[in-house]
Symmetry: none
Subunit: 211 residues, 2 copies
Amino acid sequence: MLQVLQAEFADVTISKLRFLEAEGLVTPARTASGYRKFSAADIERLRYVLTAQRDQYLPLKVIKEHLGAMDRGLRPTPGGPPAAPVAAEPAGLPVAEDFGADRTELKLTREELRVAAGITAELLEQLESHQLVVARGNHYDGDAILVAKAAAEFGRYGVEPRHLRPFRTAADREVGLIEQVAGPRRDDKTQELAALAVRLHAALVRSRLSR
Amino acid sequence: MLQVLQAEFADVTISKLRFLEAEGLVTPARTASGYRKFSAADIERLRYVLTAQRDQYLPLKVIKEHLGAMDRGLRPTPGGPPAAPVAAEPAGLPVAEDFGADRTELKLTREELRVAAGITAELLEQLESHQLVVARGNHYDGDAILVAKAAAEFGRYGVEPRHLRPFRTAADREVGLIEQVAGPRRDDKTQELAALAVRLHAALVRSRLSR
DNA sequence: TTGCGGCCTCAACCGCCGGTCGAGGGTTGA
DNA sequence: TCAACCCTCGACCGGCGGTTGAGGCCGCAA
C-alpha cells in the first residue's frame, strides 16, 4: 500500500504520511492493534495532495481547503482549484472558519490609533464625525492608521476632513459594487476586485489630471 | 513611488522590495546617490510578482523563472502567468500607477489604444460613451490604456462600463479638489496630492471592505 | 521465548523560505 | 542644523514541511 504510492511519487515516506495525517489531510483507518490501514480512497486522496503540491506548488493549508470543499460535495476539480467554497452556510451559525485571516486584524485603541497616525485628538474626532475612520466595537484596525495619516497630510495642504467626505462616499459605493459582484464573503475574488478598483481609480485620477 | 504600490498591495514594504531585488526579481535603476528608482516597468514587474505570490501561491523561485521566460519573449509554462506583462509593443507598455512617470506624452490612435489594452471595439465604445476613456484631439494617452485594461478585467467579473461610472465621478471630484488646492498647473504638488488621494482612497476601500 | 524488524506515539529538531530588524552611515530639503 | 528618508550588510525570525530518535507494542519465525 505504501509501495503503491512510492512507485508513483518517489519522495513519499511513512514519516510524511504520518505528518499528513497529523495535519488532517488524510484519516486512514486503523487495525485493532493501531496500525494505519490506507483504503483505496485514502490513496486517491493522497495522490491528489501530492500532485497538487508538486505540480501547482500549493501549500498544504490550501490543499486542505480544497479537499474540504470536495468533501462537502463541491466539484472534484480536475486540474484547478475548486470553485470558491462559497456555498450558503446554514444561516445563524457563527461558522468558525474566519479565513483569509488578514494582517489587518490589528486591534488598536483610540489612543493607540491617534499616536500611530501622529494626529491630534481633534483631527481624529473630525475624522470620526465624517466617518472616514470608524471603530469596530471599540477598536480600530490597521487601515484606520493609513486613512488617518493620509488625512493628516491633506491637512498640511489645508484640506480638512469635511472636504474628504466624497472619498468616503466613493469608497462605499465601490465596496457596494464589489460585494454585489463577489458576494459578501471576503475571499480572493474580493481582494482582486478591490485591487482592480484601486487601480482603475488611480488611472482615472491621473488621466483627468493631465487634461 | 513606494506608496503607489502600497495602495494596491497592503503588505509591500521597503524591506520586501530590497529583498526582491536581492533575489534578482527586479533590478531598479539607481540615482547618482544610490537610491533605488523604480521605473514604470519595474512596478509592473513587481505587480506581477506580488499577485502571482498572493493569488497563485507560487514560490519566488518559480516566479523568477516565469519572469526570465517572459524577458526572453517566451510564453512560459502551462497554467503559467496569465496576463503576462509581455509587451506586444515596441515601446514597452507603461502600465504602472507612477504619478511621476510622464506617460502623458504617449499619443495613441484609437486602434493602437484598443490593441494595447486588448479590448474589443465594442467595449472601447462603451468606455467612451461613459467618458471613462476620453480622447484629447484624436489621440489617447497611456492612462487610457490603464483604464481600459482595468475595465476589461472588471468585465470578466460581469461588471460593465456603466457600472463603472461612479469611478469617473469620484475621480472628477478628486481632481477638482486637487486643482483647487494646488492650482491648475501640473507640478510636484499636484502629483503629491494625487498620490495622496489614491492612497486615501485605497485605505478607505480596504477598511470598508473588512467590516 | 527470544529475537528481530516492523509499526506505533510524541517531542525535539532541522533546513529553507520569505522576509524583518538594527547598527552604522549617507542624502535631501526645509 | 535637523528630521526624515534612503542606503548596505549581517543577524535574526517565524512558519512550513517534514525528519529523527527515544521508548514502546506487534507479529512472525527459529
